[in-house]
Amino acid sequence: MSAPGAGTASSDFERFTRATVNLLEDAAAEKSRLEGALRAAFNILEDFAEEKRRLEDNQRAVLNILEDAARERLTLEDSQKAALNILEDAAVEKGRLEEMQRALLNILDDVDVQRASVERTNRILSEEVERRWRTEGELKAHAEALARSNAELEQFAYVASHDLQEPLRKIQSYCQLLERRYKDELDERGKTYINFVVDGSERMQNLVRDLLAFARVRSAAKPLQPTDAGASLQEALGYLETPIQEADAEVRAAPLPLVNADPSQMTQVFQNLISNAIKFRRPDAKPVIDVRAHLEGHLWHFVVRDNGIGIEPAHLERVFVIFQRLHGRGEYPGTGIGLAICKRVIERFGGRIWVESTPGEGSAFHFTVPALKEEGA
């Protein structure tokens, strides 16, 4: 307030001061308002920064999430892929399982079929077993019957040899006695009659004796055993010493093997073959007989070769038949049993016998005998 006329200098000062104070107050107020605004601005900035930070955080979080999500997605994709693979494998497995199941079903079907066939086979087998038992029983019965038959045959052979020859002996002896006693009273015809009787009974005796020998090839046979064929040949040559000497025959033998045979029967074979070779010799040639053997598989192949009169092709098999002779009784002696016995013996050993021949040049008798078990191809 300004009094009108109070002092105007003091009042202006006052007014000025008051205005300045007012201005200062206003300035101060303004300053404080500015400061306040500044502070507010600062606060806002801080909040803004804060917000920015939060936003950045969120952003980072989101980025993380996105990253995680991305990773997740990858993992998920992997898992998905893995899951898909697993599903594929599972599908394959399922396929395989279904196949196996089908196969199993087939097998079960087959098993059923098999079982039916096994049952059938079992039935057949048990029938077969029964049949075998029965056959075994029959075989045993047969073996016993055979043994009995052999014993009977042996008995028969003994009777044949003994009782049959007895009357023949009488015929022979008494005819000869007759001749001696009454030769002065017998004319030529009478003597001839007697000779025929004696001759007939002699032949009958030889036949009986040979039949006996033939039968005994089986009935008196020893079990097959390792046999030295060379020794058998030597034994046969021993028995044939006289005929060999008389005929001036030469027997050549290659080394002979061990065979599976009956030793005395082996000797018989050699004896018969060589005796024949000497008997049926050519009148103009010294008899030469060659004996050798070679291995064929599991058989020893023997050849007894001579340079005798030979055998015609038509008769090559007949010679082995019992009592078959190719010559008249007057030409060559013998009953015609030698080769039949050889055949029976060789066949008993499990071999074969045959002859090759050139009439006028000689014959080669071939026979096979099983080798010992360890030998042979």
Binding site: Y158, H162, Q165, E166, L168, R169, K170, Q172, S173, Y174, Q176, L177, R180, E202, Q205
Partner: protein
């Protein structure tokens, strides 16, 4: 009995008439001075050897020729009985038979037969056989002395 050769008493145990005659002929042919007695079966032979009725006066044989195949009692049995009897076992027994079976031969010797001879079919061979039997058994061989027997009969040749 000086100067007179003792006649040999031969007992032939043989049932076949043909064989008996053959042996007689052979003995005659060999000029064996003998007193031949023939019996046809084993039982009669044992009765003869033991001098049982009707053979109370039977002479003791110096040699027995024994066939194997005899009726009633066969040769093997006669042989066994003879060799088991102390009175008879010293008498030589020659088995004279047709059988050439190894079983028969073995059995005869097992029962102490003195020898075993198979009869031959051929007459000449048989005659030769009997001649040899005579030579061996009645000439070469010393027979047991007659001790304990009845005095030997003078036989007919």
């Amino acid at each position: 009995m000086t100067g007179t050769p003792r006649v040999v008493v031969i007992l032939l145990v043989e049932d076949d008439a043909g064989d008996v005659l053959l042996l007689r002929e052979a003995l005659a042919d060999a000029r064996v001075v003998n007193d031949l007695h023939v019996l046809g079966d084993g039982e009669k032979a044992m009765a003869f050897l033991r001098r049982l009725p009707p053979y109370e006066n039977a002479p003791r044989p110096d040699l027995v020729l024994l066939d194997l195949n005899l009726p009633r009692k066969n040769g093997h049995e006669v042989l066994q009985e003879m060799k088991a009897d102390p009175e008879l076992r010293a008498i030589p027994v020659v088995i004279l038979t047709t059988s050439d079976s190894e079983a028969d031969i073995a059995l005869a010797y097992e029962h102490y037969a003195n020898s075993y001879v198979t009869k031959k079919s051929n007459l000449d061979e048989f005659l030769d056989l009997v001649r040899k039997l005579d030579e061996f058994w009645l000439q070469i061989v010393r027979l047991p002395p007659p001790g304990g027997a009845a005095p030997p009969k003078k036989g007919l040749p």
